[in-house]
């Protein structure tokens, strides 16, 4: 059965519980969608809480939103959209068996993902930390305590500080879990890149690329909703 090298790859690629590669491919794809359904509900719990409190405390939420840098948010949105493009092109390359293209696009996706996280950490979260905008008593003595210009801005907007703190809690929780998913995604992509470099994928067997591609696009979709809902409340100037 294994006289032809391509066939050898095929035979080796079929897991024992499946009857043929088609069935394996469909199962793998469908399985990833089921997993994504669980992710919709996972993030959904936070979106539900967010919706309720934005409705109740719109003024404070808008004031909190104005504390965020929408330009950085928009830039990051563009970065993620680019990474979705490169991911889709990676799957395309895998479908056609183009190993170097696949590796290139995977690496580009990783770079863009790391850029997203880097921008977040450097320009957003570190600044929030320095301005005492991180909610709760993360570290004793560094509680939520907006000061100076920021405090004045909140007071002029008639915001209630505890409710602005709640907005910041949602901001950090939602972007935090999102970033966590991105880090996991980058890790998976690294593994994929190594496997692709080793020539482990072929047009007959590239399920992991497709599956992780679906995961990556999903993480992008979460951000597509997070950007307007967190950064653009109450308008920007």
């Amino acid at each position: 059965m294994a006289d032809h090298p391509a066939q050898a790859v095929q035979v080796h690629a079929l897991a024992h519980q499946f009857d043929d590669l088609d069935q394996q491919h469909e199962a793998s794809n469908f399985g990833m969608w089921i997993f994504l359904a669980t992710e919709i509900m996972f993030f959904g719990g936070m979106f539900a809480g967010y919706t309720i409190f934005r409705h109740e405390y719109f003024t404070s939420f808008a004031a909190g939103s104005h504390l965020l840098n929408w330009r950085i948010g928009a830039t990051n949105t563009a970065v993620l959209i680019c990474s979705s493009l490169t991911m889709a092109l990676a799957v395309h390359a895998a479908q056609l068996g183009k190993r170097m293209q696949l590796v290139t696009f995977l690496i580009l996706t990783i770079v863009l993902g790391l850029a997203f996280i880097g921008i977040k950490l450097t320009f957003e979260w570190s600044r929030d930390w320095n301005e005492y905008l991180v909610p709760g008593q993360l570290v004793l003595g560094h509680a939520f305590a907006p000061q100076g210009e920021i405090l004045k801005q909140l007071q002029e907007a008639h915001a209630s500080l505890p409710k602005v703190e709640m907005f910041m809690f949602f901001y950090f929780a939602m972007t935090g879990f999102h970033a966590l998913h991105m880090v996991v995604g980058v890790g998976l992509l690294l593994a994929l890149t190594i496997m692709a470099w080793q020539g482990r994928f072929s047009p007959q067997r590239f399920n992991p690329v497709e599956g992780i591609g679906l995961y990556w696009h999903f993480v992008d979709i979460v951000w597509i909703f997070l950007f307007p809902l967190l950064y653009l409340i109450g308008g920007i100037s």
Binding site: I34, A37, I40, M41, A48, H55, E210, I224, L232
Partner: protein, 108 residues
């Protein structure tokens, strides 16, 4: 088998649309449409998500079973939001029989 192969051109077109809509949603946020701002922002986000799902995630070329899985996922989220909001939004509608209301009482 490799499934339907989407031409690269399609991906680049969708990419351009997504960037364009990001710009649009940012511009809309600079305008004052009152409560419509939120509606428009959500509508644009839904369009973007739909494009990613249909083209980047290949759902346009997928089986009905896959489409069912996608729809079910979002529909269930809608259930969570709707029924929870049904409590939040109606909590202040306290039913008081008219005979219990004095002339000075108010429904909160």
């Amino acid at each position: 088998m490799s499934g339907h192969i989407v031409p690269q051109k399609v991906y680049f077109t969708i990419f351009a649309l997504l960037i364009g809509m990001t710009g649009l949603t940012t511009w809309v946020a600079t305008q004052n449409f009152g409560r419509w701002n939120t509606v428009i922002a959500l509508a644009i986000a839904i369009c973007k998500a739909t494009l990613v799902i249909l083209f980047f995630m290949h759902v346009k070329y997928s089986s009905n079973l896959t489409r069912a899985a996608v729809v079910v996922g979002f529909f269930w989220l809608a259930l969570l939001l709707t029924l929870t909001l049904s409590d939040i939004l109606t909590r202040s509608w306290i039913p008081t029989p008219s005979s219990w209301q004095s002339s000075t009482s108010q429904v909160p």
